[in-house]
Symmetry: C2
Subunit: 199 residues, 2 copies
Protein backbone atom coordinates (compact mmCIF):
# COMPACT_ATOMS: atom_id res chain seq x y z
CA UNK A 1 0.00 0.00 0.00
CA UNK A 2 1.05 3.57 -0.61
CA UNK A 3 1.11 4.81 2.98
CA UNK A 4 3.10 1.97 4.55
CA UNK A 5 5.75 3.03 7.02
CA UNK A 6 5.29 6.72 6.22
CA UNK A 7 5.13 9.06 9.22
CA UNK A 8 1.46 9.70 8.41
CA UNK A 9 0.77 5.97 8.54
CA UNK A 10 2.58 5.62 11.86
CA UNK A 11 0.58 8.53 13.27
CA UNK A 12 -2.70 6.90 12.18
CA UNK A 13 -1.69 3.59 13.80
CA UNK A 14 -0.83 5.33 17.09
CA UNK A 15 -4.00 7.44 17.10
CA UNK A 16 -6.10 4.30 16.54
CA UNK A 17 -4.81 3.01 19.90
CA UNK A 18 -6.52 5.83 21.83
CA UNK A 19 -9.68 4.86 23.70
CA UNK A 20 -12.71 5.92 21.67
CA UNK A 21 -10.89 6.02 18.32
CA UNK A 22 -10.73 3.17 15.78
CA UNK A 23 -8.83 2.99 12.48
CA UNK A 24 -11.44 5.02 10.58
CA UNK A 25 -11.76 7.82 13.12
CA UNK A 26 -7.95 7.84 13.49
CA UNK A 27 -7.60 8.44 9.72
CA UNK A 28 -10.15 11.26 9.87
CA UNK A 29 -8.44 12.78 12.92
CA UNK A 30 -5.03 12.72 11.19
CA UNK A 31 -6.37 14.36 8.02
CA UNK A 32 -8.00 16.99 10.25
CA UNK A 33 -4.69 17.52 12.08
CA UNK A 34 -2.80 17.97 8.80
CA UNK A 35 -5.36 20.54 7.61
CA UNK A 36 -5.06 22.38 10.97
CA UNK A 37 -1.29 22.04 11.19
CA UNK A 38 -0.48 25.42 12.75
CA UNK A 39 -3.51 25.67 15.03
CA UNK A 40 -3.85 22.07 16.19
CA UNK A 41 -1.18 19.57 15.07
CA UNK A 42 1.90 21.53 16.16
CA UNK A 43 0.40 22.70 19.50
CA UNK A 44 -0.76 19.13 20.17
CA UNK A 45 2.72 17.71 19.45
CA UNK A 46 4.22 20.28 21.83
CA UNK A 47 1.64 19.66 24.57
CA UNK A 48 2.20 15.89 24.33
CA UNK A 49 5.95 16.32 24.54
CA UNK A 50 5.57 18.53 27.61
CA UNK A 51 3.12 16.17 29.32
CA UNK A 52 5.38 13.19 28.56
CA UNK A 53 8.21 15.04 30.29
CA UNK A 54 6.34 16.49 33.27
CA UNK A 55 3.30 14.34 34.18
CA UNK A 56 3.60 12.37 37.39
CA UNK A 57 1.42 10.82 40.07
CA UNK A 58 1.11 12.64 43.37
CA UNK A 59 3.14 10.60 45.86
CA UNK A 60 0.51 11.27 48.51
CA UNK A 61 -2.88 10.77 46.85
CA UNK A 62 -2.29 9.36 43.35
CA UNK A 63 -3.73 12.39 41.51
CA UNK A 64 -2.04 13.12 38.18
CA UNK A 65 -0.26 16.46 37.81
CA UNK A 66 3.14 17.94 37.21
CA UNK A 67 4.58 17.96 40.73
CA UNK A 68 5.60 15.24 43.21
CA UNK A 69 2.85 16.39 45.57
CA UNK A 70 -0.28 17.72 43.88
CA UNK A 71 -1.79 21.20 44.52
CA UNK A 72 -4.70 19.69 46.47
CA UNK A 73 -2.37 17.88 48.87
CA UNK A 74 -0.21 20.99 49.40
CA UNK A 75 -3.22 23.31 49.86
CA UNK A 76 -3.59 23.74 53.63
CA UNK A 77 -7.13 25.10 53.16
CA UNK A 78 -8.11 21.60 52.04
CA UNK A 79 -6.88 19.97 55.25
CA UNK A 80 -10.49 19.84 56.44
CA UNK A 81 -10.26 16.35 57.93
CA UNK A 82 -12.41 15.04 55.07
CA UNK A 83 -10.80 12.45 52.79
CA UNK A 84 -12.64 11.34 49.65
CA UNK A 85 -11.60 7.92 48.32
CA UNK A 86 -12.06 7.38 44.56
CA UNK A 87 -11.15 4.60 42.16
CA UNK A 88 -9.45 6.57 39.39
CA UNK A 89 -8.02 10.01 38.65
CA UNK A 90 -10.94 10.59 36.25
CA UNK A 91 -13.28 10.31 39.27
CA UNK A 92 -11.22 12.87 41.24
CA UNK A 93 -11.47 15.26 38.29
CA UNK A 94 -15.23 14.65 38.10
CA UNK A 95 -15.58 15.51 41.82
CA UNK A 96 -13.53 18.67 41.33
CA UNK A 97 -15.76 19.76 38.44
CA UNK A 98 -18.69 19.41 40.81
CA UNK A 99 -16.89 21.96 42.99
CA UNK A 100 -18.72 20.98 46.18
CA UNK A 101 -15.94 19.04 47.90
CA UNK A 102 -13.32 21.05 49.76
CA UNK A 103 -11.29 18.25 51.36
CA UNK A 104 -8.61 15.96 49.97
CA UNK A 105 -8.67 12.81 47.87
CA UNK A 106 -7.16 9.38 47.80
CA UNK A 107 -7.03 7.61 44.41
CA UNK A 108 -7.04 3.81 44.83
CA UNK A 109 -5.99 3.10 41.25
CA UNK A 110 -8.75 0.55 40.70
CA UNK A 111 -10.93 -1.83 42.71
CA UNK A 112 -10.40 -5.13 44.45
CA UNK A 113 -11.17 -7.96 42.05
CA UNK A 114 -10.93 -11.66 42.72
CA UNK A 115 -11.42 -12.34 39.03
CA UNK A 116 -8.52 -10.09 37.97
CA UNK A 117 -6.44 -11.07 40.99
CA UNK A 118 -6.32 -7.50 42.38
CA UNK A 119 -5.67 -7.45 46.14
CA UNK A 120 -5.39 -4.56 48.64
CA UNK A 121 -1.60 -4.29 48.13
CA UNK A 122 -2.16 -3.77 44.38
CA UNK A 123 -4.17 -0.62 45.16
CA UNK A 124 -3.24 2.43 47.32
CA UNK A 125 -4.98 0.90 50.36
CA UNK A 126 -1.90 0.61 52.65
CA UNK A 127 -1.11 4.29 51.88
CA UNK A 128 -4.74 5.18 52.69
CA UNK A 129 -4.49 3.62 56.17
CA UNK A 130 -1.23 5.51 56.80
CA UNK A 131 -2.76 8.85 55.75
CA UNK A 132 -5.69 8.54 58.18
CA UNK A 133 -3.41 9.13 61.15
CA UNK A 134 -0.82 11.34 59.52
CA UNK A 135 -3.33 13.90 58.22
CA UNK A 136 -5.79 13.98 61.16
CA UNK A 137 -8.61 12.63 59.02
CA UNK A 138 -11.98 12.73 60.80
CA UNK A 139 -14.23 11.42 58.02
CA UNK A 140 -13.59 9.18 55.03
CA UNK A 141 -16.05 9.50 52.13
CA UNK A 142 -16.06 6.39 49.96
CA UNK A 143 -16.91 7.73 46.49
CA UNK A 144 -16.55 4.44 44.65
CA UNK A 145 -18.54 3.39 41.62
CA UNK A 146 -21.88 1.64 42.17
CA UNK A 147 -20.52 -1.57 40.65
CA UNK A 148 -20.02 -4.92 42.39
CA UNK A 149 -16.23 -4.47 42.54
CA UNK A 150 -16.61 -0.86 43.70
CA UNK A 151 -18.93 -1.84 46.53
CA UNK A 152 -16.76 -4.84 47.51
CA UNK A 153 -13.82 -2.45 47.79
CA UNK A 154 -15.89 0.01 49.86
CA UNK A 155 -16.83 -2.76 52.31
CA UNK A 156 -13.22 -3.90 52.59
CA UNK A 157 -12.02 -0.36 53.38
CA UNK A 158 -14.88 0.15 55.86
CA UNK A 159 -13.80 -3.04 57.70
CA UNK A 160 -10.20 -1.81 57.84
CA UNK A 161 -11.15 1.62 59.19
CA UNK A 162 -13.74 0.46 61.75
CA UNK A 163 -11.24 -0.11 64.62
CA UNK A 164 -9.84 3.40 64.14
CA UNK A 165 -13.16 5.08 65.03
CA UNK A 166 -13.17 7.26 61.89
CA UNK A 167 -16.53 8.46 60.57
CA UNK A 168 -17.32 6.75 57.29
CA UNK A 169 -19.77 7.85 54.62
CA UNK A 170 -20.56 7.08 51.02
CA UNK A 171 -22.03 9.04 48.17
CA UNK A 172 -25.70 8.23 48.24
CA UNK A 173 -28.45 10.14 46.52
CA UNK A 174 -28.11 10.37 42.78
CA UNK A 175 -25.64 7.63 41.97
CA UNK A 176 -27.55 5.28 39.67
CA UNK A 177 -27.24 1.50 39.99
CA UNK A 178 -24.34 0.33 37.84
CA UNK A 179 -23.38 3.93 37.11
CA UNK A 180 -19.84 5.23 36.88
CA UNK A 181 -18.87 8.49 38.54
CA UNK A 182 -17.09 9.99 35.55
CA UNK A 183 -20.29 9.79 33.49
CA UNK A 184 -22.48 11.74 35.93
CA UNK A 185 -23.32 15.39 35.52
CA UNK A 186 -21.86 17.84 38.02
CA UNK A 187 -25.19 18.57 39.75
CA UNK A 188 -25.78 14.88 40.47
CA UNK A 189 -22.34 14.57 42.04
CA UNK A 190 -23.00 17.63 44.21
CA UNK A 191 -26.38 16.24 45.34
CA UNK A 192 -24.86 12.84 46.13
CA UNK A 193 -22.12 14.50 48.15
CA UNK A 194 -24.48 16.70 50.17
CA UNK A 195 -26.83 13.78 50.92
CA UNK A 196 -24.04 11.38 51.81
CA UNK A 197 -25.15 8.84 54.43
CA UNK A 198 -23.22 7.61 57.44
CA UNK A 199 -22.24 3.95 57.27
Amino acid sequence: MIRNSSPIDRLIDLMARLPGLGPRSARRAVLHLIRKRAHLLTPLAEAMTEVAQTARECLNCGNVGTSDICPICTNEARATGLLCVVEEVADLWAMERGGAFKGRYHVLGGTLSALDNVGPEDLRIPQLLRRIGAENVTEVILALNATIDGQTTAHYIADQLEPQGIALSSLAQGVPIGGELDYLDDGTITAALNARKRL
Copy 2:
Protein backbone atom coordinates in the same frame (compact mmCIF):
# COMPACT_ATOMS: atom_id res chain seq x y z
CA MET B 1 -9.95 24.82 39.27
CA ILE B 2 -6.85 22.79 39.99
CA ARG B 3 -5.89 21.88 36.47
CA ASN B 4 -6.13 25.33 34.91
CA SER B 5 -3.30 26.25 32.55
CA SER B 6 -1.32 23.12 33.42
CA PRO B 7 0.19 21.25 30.45
CA ILE B 8 -2.24 18.38 31.15
CA ASP B 9 -5.16 20.79 30.93
CA ARG B 10 -3.87 22.27 27.68
CA LEU B 11 -3.47 18.77 26.23
CA ILE B 12 -7.06 17.89 27.18
CA ASP B 13 -8.35 21.08 25.56
CA LEU B 14 -6.47 20.36 22.32
CA MET B 15 -7.51 16.69 22.22
CA ALA B 16 -11.15 17.74 22.65
CA ARG B 17 -10.86 19.59 19.32
CA LEU B 18 -10.26 16.36 17.39
CA PRO B 19 -13.23 15.07 15.37
CA GLY B 20 -14.96 12.28 17.30
CA LEU B 21 -13.63 13.34 20.72
CA GLY B 22 -15.44 15.58 23.21
CA PRO B 23 -14.25 16.90 26.59
CA ARG B 24 -15.00 13.66 28.42
CA SER B 25 -13.34 11.33 25.92
CA ALA B 26 -10.41 13.77 25.69
CA ARG B 27 -9.89 13.52 29.47
CA ARG B 28 -10.01 9.72 29.28
CA ALA B 29 -7.61 9.69 26.33
CA VAL B 30 -5.12 11.93 28.17
CA LEU B 31 -5.20 9.76 31.32
CA HIS B 32 -4.65 6.73 29.07
CA LEU B 33 -1.73 8.50 27.38
CA ILE B 34 -0.12 9.33 30.73
CA ARG B 35 -0.45 5.71 31.85
CA LYS B 36 1.10 4.55 28.54
CA ARG B 37 3.75 7.24 28.45
CA ALA B 38 6.62 5.19 26.97
CA HIS B 39 4.56 3.08 24.58
CA LEU B 40 2.02 5.61 23.36
CA LEU B 41 2.41 9.24 24.53
CA THR B 42 6.06 9.74 23.60
CA PRO B 43 5.79 7.93 20.22
CA LEU B 44 2.63 9.92 19.46
CA ALA B 45 4.34 13.23 20.29
CA GLU B 46 7.24 12.28 18.00
CA ALA B 47 4.96 11.12 15.16
CA MET B 48 2.95 14.37 15.38
CA THR B 49 6.10 16.47 15.32
CA GLU B 50 7.37 14.57 12.26
CA VAL B 51 4.04 14.82 10.42
CA ALA B 52 3.80 18.54 11.23
CA GLN B 53 7.21 18.99 9.64
CA THR B 54 6.84 16.72 6.60
CA ALA B 55 3.18 16.43 5.54
CA ARG B 56 2.25 18.17 2.32
CA GLU B 57 -0.32 18.01 -0.45
CA CYS B 58 0.72 16.47 -3.77
CA LEU B 59 1.03 19.39 -6.18
CA ASN B 60 -0.46 17.24 -8.94
CA CYS B 61 -3.41 15.40 -7.42
CA GLY B 62 -4.01 16.79 -3.90
CA ASN B 63 -3.20 13.51 -2.09
CA VAL B 64 -1.54 13.98 1.31
CA GLY B 65 1.94 12.57 1.78
CA THR B 66 5.49 13.61 2.52
CA SER B 67 6.71 14.58 -0.96
CA ASP B 68 5.82 17.37 -3.40
CA ILE B 69 4.54 14.77 -5.87
CA CYS B 70 2.95 11.69 -4.30
CA PRO B 71 4.04 8.07 -4.97
CA ILE B 72 0.90 7.40 -7.04
CA CYS B 73 1.59 10.33 -9.38
CA THR B 74 5.27 9.36 -9.81
CA ASN B 75 4.50 5.65 -10.35
CA GLU B 76 4.58 5.15 -14.15
CA ALA B 77 2.74 1.82 -13.79
CA ARG B 78 -0.27 3.84 -12.73
CA ALA B 79 -0.30 5.97 -15.89
CA THR B 80 -3.10 3.76 -17.21
CA GLY B 81 -5.11 6.58 -18.74
CA LEU B 82 -7.70 6.16 -15.94
CA LEU B 83 -8.22 9.13 -13.63
CA CYS B 84 -10.43 8.74 -10.57
CA VAL B 85 -11.88 12.00 -9.22
CA VAL B 86 -12.69 12.03 -5.48
CA GLU B 87 -13.86 14.71 -3.06
CA GLU B 88 -11.38 14.22 -0.22
CA VAL B 89 -8.11 12.50 0.59
CA ALA B 90 -10.04 10.12 2.90
CA ASP B 91 -11.91 8.89 -0.22
CA LEU B 92 -8.63 8.30 -2.09
CA TRP B 93 -7.37 6.26 0.85
CA ALA B 94 -10.65 4.30 0.90
CA MET B 95 -10.23 3.51 -2.83
CA GLU B 96 -6.63 2.38 -2.23
CA ARG B 97 -7.73 0.07 0.57
CA GLY B 98 -10.14 -1.53 -1.91
CA GLY B 99 -7.03 -2.26 -4.00
CA ALA B 100 -8.96 -2.61 -7.28
CA PHE B 101 -8.03 0.69 -8.91
CA LYS B 102 -4.68 0.86 -10.68
CA GLY B 103 -4.91 4.36 -12.21
CA ARG B 104 -4.36 7.78 -10.71
CA TYR B 105 -6.50 10.13 -8.64
CA HIS B 106 -7.58 13.73 -8.53
CA VAL B 107 -8.71 15.10 -5.15
CA LEU B 108 -11.14 18.00 -5.59
CA GLY B 109 -10.91 19.14 -1.97
CA GLY B 110 -14.70 19.31 -1.53
CA THR B 111 -17.83 19.77 -3.64
CA LEU B 112 -19.49 22.68 -5.36
CA SER B 113 -21.99 24.29 -3.00
CA ALA B 114 -24.18 27.30 -3.68
CA LEU B 115 -25.08 27.42 0.01
CA ASP B 116 -21.46 27.54 1.18
CA ASN B 117 -20.41 29.69 -1.77
CA VAL B 118 -17.96 27.08 -3.15
CA GLY B 119 -17.32 27.52 -6.89
CA PRO B 120 -15.15 25.54 -9.37
CA GLU B 121 -12.11 27.76 -8.72
CA ASP B 122 -12.32 26.92 -4.98
CA LEU B 123 -11.79 23.23 -5.83
CA ARG B 124 -9.06 21.54 -7.91
CA ILE B 125 -11.28 21.66 -11.03
CA PRO B 126 -9.04 23.91 -13.21
CA GLN B 127 -6.08 21.59 -12.39
CA LEU B 128 -8.25 18.60 -13.34
CA LEU B 129 -8.97 20.02 -16.78
CA ARG B 130 -5.25 20.66 -17.30
CA ARG B 131 -4.30 17.11 -16.28
CA ILE B 132 -6.67 15.52 -18.83
CA GLY B 133 -4.47 16.61 -21.70
CA ALA B 134 -1.10 16.54 -19.97
CA GLU B 135 -1.40 12.93 -18.78
CA ASN B 136 -3.15 11.33 -21.78
CA VAL B 137 -6.23 10.53 -19.76
CA THR B 138 -8.69 8.32 -21.68
CA GLU B 139 -11.34 7.82 -18.98
CA VAL B 140 -12.39 9.87 -15.98
CA ILE B 141 -14.14 7.99 -13.18
CA LEU B 142 -16.24 10.32 -11.02
CA ALA B 143 -16.10 8.68 -7.58
CA LEU B 144 -18.02 11.40 -5.75
CA ASN B 145 -20.31 10.85 -2.78
CA ALA B 146 -23.97 10.04 -3.47
CA THR B 147 -25.03 13.34 -1.92
CA ILE B 148 -26.75 16.26 -3.64
CA ASP B 149 -23.57 18.37 -3.65
CA GLY B 150 -21.49 15.38 -4.80
CA GLN B 151 -23.81 14.70 -7.74
CA THR B 152 -24.06 18.40 -8.64
CA THR B 153 -20.27 18.47 -8.80
CA ALA B 154 -20.19 15.31 -10.93
CA HIS B 155 -22.62 16.86 -13.44
CA TYR B 156 -20.59 20.08 -13.59
CA ILE B 157 -17.37 18.16 -14.32
CA ALA B 158 -19.15 15.97 -16.89
CA ASP B 159 -20.34 19.12 -18.68
CA GLN B 160 -16.80 20.54 -18.70
CA LEU B 161 -15.27 17.31 -20.07
CA GLU B 162 -17.92 16.58 -22.71
CA PRO B 163 -16.30 18.70 -25.50
CA GLN B 164 -12.97 16.90 -24.96
CA GLY B 165 -14.40 13.49 -25.96
CA ILE B 166 -13.10 11.76 -22.81
CA ALA B 167 -14.93 8.64 -21.61
CA LEU B 168 -16.74 9.39 -18.36
CA SER B 169 -17.98 6.92 -15.79
CA SER B 170 -19.19 6.92 -12.25
CA LEU B 171 -19.13 4.39 -9.43
CA ALA B 172 -22.47 2.67 -9.63
CA GLN B 173 -23.42 -0.60 -8.00
CA GLY B 174 -23.14 -0.60 -4.25
CA VAL B 175 -23.01 3.08 -3.36
CA PRO B 176 -26.06 3.59 -1.14
CA ILE B 177 -28.23 6.69 -1.47
CA GLY B 178 -26.84 9.40 0.78
CA GLY B 179 -23.81 7.23 1.55
CA GLU B 180 -20.28 8.50 1.92
CA LEU B 181 -17.40 6.67 0.33
CA ASP B 182 -15.16 6.59 3.37
CA TYR B 183 -17.81 4.65 5.32
CA LEU B 184 -18.14 1.82 2.80
CA ASP B 185 -16.44 -1.54 3.21
CA ASP B 186 -13.68 -2.42 0.75
CA GLY B 187 -15.71 -5.07 -1.07
CA THR B 188 -18.50 -2.62 -1.83
CA ILE B 189 -16.03 -0.14 -3.29
CA THR B 190 -14.51 -2.85 -5.47
CA ALA B 191 -17.96 -3.94 -6.71
CA ALA B 192 -18.94 -0.34 -7.45
CA LEU B 193 -15.72 0.17 -9.38
CA ASN B 194 -16.07 -2.99 -11.47
CA ALA B 195 -19.72 -2.23 -12.31
CA ARG B 196 -19.11 1.43 -13.13
CA LYS B 197 -21.48 2.71 -15.78
CA ARG B 198 -20.73 4.97 -18.72
CA LEU B 199 -22.32 8.40 -18.52
